[in-house]
Symmetry: C2
Subunit: 288 residues, 2 copies
């Protein structure tokens, strides 16, 4: 593989793990994060710090972004000290944040004007997937650009699927989150019922896993709940953001997704009312 | 294995398949069904017809029941021509219908008075599981009786777990159905979003299956939906019955299961308003 000058904006749980895999493959990394100390370990490991997204862009041929909310994405790309102020012509920027499809379209259009290649490429697989380079990557944007990035995607994930023009990767991720809204609310209410009925939780988990009720979320999160572990694989406040985007997009397309809407209301109680947004998504059980 | 005189009340999709497996193991079967013609093939295959549940009971050491609704179960056990009017002392009756935990308790108490052994043993795994003898069986009732029935359970399923006194098998099944309410509503709304956003449905299915959104219902029902196949593996009207029981029981225990309640409302639209209760549960997508 050709070794490249890669920039990375956002060195959180996910970004940090992805950066390590990119460095392990031999690429040189320039990084920025809003809270610098979260990048300290990466700098010790060989990444170069840059003081702004613009400065990251100036040092890089390809820049990944993975931040929290759409407003953060907007700032990273469009502000005075943002990526678009520093990228070279012909450079590529890839947003891995789960964000609005319409924002992905806006970034792609602005990028095209300036001669940059833009992809939206949100991921699934969580912290474990990022660490083990087994992420699933959902890509939207120019197909030729996607093809050129496949070797890089293979360095950090197991699957990178192309879904169409700018925003299509974000739409695919929304479909993923809508499915997970069902498994998370289902496993939460299943476990509440199990406890209240006085059944053996471990035996229920084994029984349900062996049949038609089986799902990844149950297999991975119920054991954590059973040992009162609510540390985030995936922050509840980020999941709520995703559900809000999914429902806004659905409404724009004329869809009323009632079960997903109920899931959003439940996560609103968890995040906005109970203040548990820094727990993992499995903490939903703590609102009942 | 000791060959036994087994009775079976309810020769529908599930019951019929289970009966075939019992006969294949060498047991002699006496059967009753409300609509006799649904038992014709089994009779041709060697099962003996009896005109009432009482008459089934009179010919059998062990009787299985698998009918539609709790009111049907009640009639099968308690009516003048019901099982309790025909069973021998020391005989065993096993209700595999998904039904009310409180009804299971009532049957067990009445059975005990008459010297019968009673188990509640609802199953999961659907038509395929019944045919291939890979059902998961959730058992409540006397534990010693459960132990004696294990060889028979192994003839028709892959797992038979004991959950506690009468009604506990039904409670375990309710937990199972609550989980499935989440996967079914989730996959339905996921697929609606996918279509409306113009994404490749097959590629979305593959992508979601490879990550944290993976679940049995999606893997098994989305392919059926994609070929417009709404034939019942499991009738929507039976699933709605299960969700109603689950929510009634939850309410009795002081639980407000909001996501499951929304799922129930959606299946009410499908079954009560749109009249699609004879489709499989995957037909939920037809209400949107």
């Amino acid at each position: 593989m050709i070794l490249m000058k890669i920039g990375f904006v956002g060195t959180g749980v996910m970004g940090g793990a992805i950066i390590k895999n990119l460095m392990a493959a031999g690429h040189s990394l320039t990084v920025f994060n809003r809270t610098k100390q979260k990048a300290d370990k990466l700098i010790t490991a060989g990444a170069v710090w840059a003081p702004t997204p613009k400065a990251v862009a100036a040092q890089s041929d390809i820049v990944f972004t993975m931040v929290g909310f759409p407003k953060d994405v907007e700032q990273v790309y469009f502000s005075k000290e943002g990526l678009f102020a520093g990228l070279h012509k012909g450079a590529t920027a890839i947003d891995m944040t789960t964000s609005r499809p319409s924002l992905a379209t806006k970034i792609a259009a602005a990028g095209k004007q300036h001669g940059f290649n833009i992809l939206d490429a949100p991921v699934s697989g969580g912290d474990i997937g990022a660490q083990n380079a087994t992420l699933t990557i959902m890509v939207g944007g120019d197909e030729e650009c996607y093809r050129q990035m496949i070797p890089l995607f293979k360095t950090i994930g197991k699957t990178a699927n192309y879904f169409g023009l700018a925003g299509a990767g974000q739409h695919a991720k929304m479909a993923n989150q809508i499915m997970i809204a069902g498994t998370m609310t289902g496993l939460t209410e299943m476990l509440l019922y199990t406890r209240q009925a006085g059944l053996d939780e471990q035996k229920i988990l084994e029984t349900l896993s062996s049949g038609g009720a089986d799902n990844w979320s149950m297999d991975n999160y119920v054991p954590r709940i059973l040992r009162d572990d609510y540390t985030p694989g995936f922050f509840a406040r980020h999941f709520l953001k995703d559900l809000r985007i999914a429902l806004e997009e659905a409404a724009k397309m004329g869809l009323d997704l009632r079960a997903t809407n109920e899931a959003k209301r439940l996560y609103e109680i968890m995040v906005d009312i109970k203040g548990l947004g820094n727990q993992g998504t499995q903490g939903l059980i703590n609102i009942y």
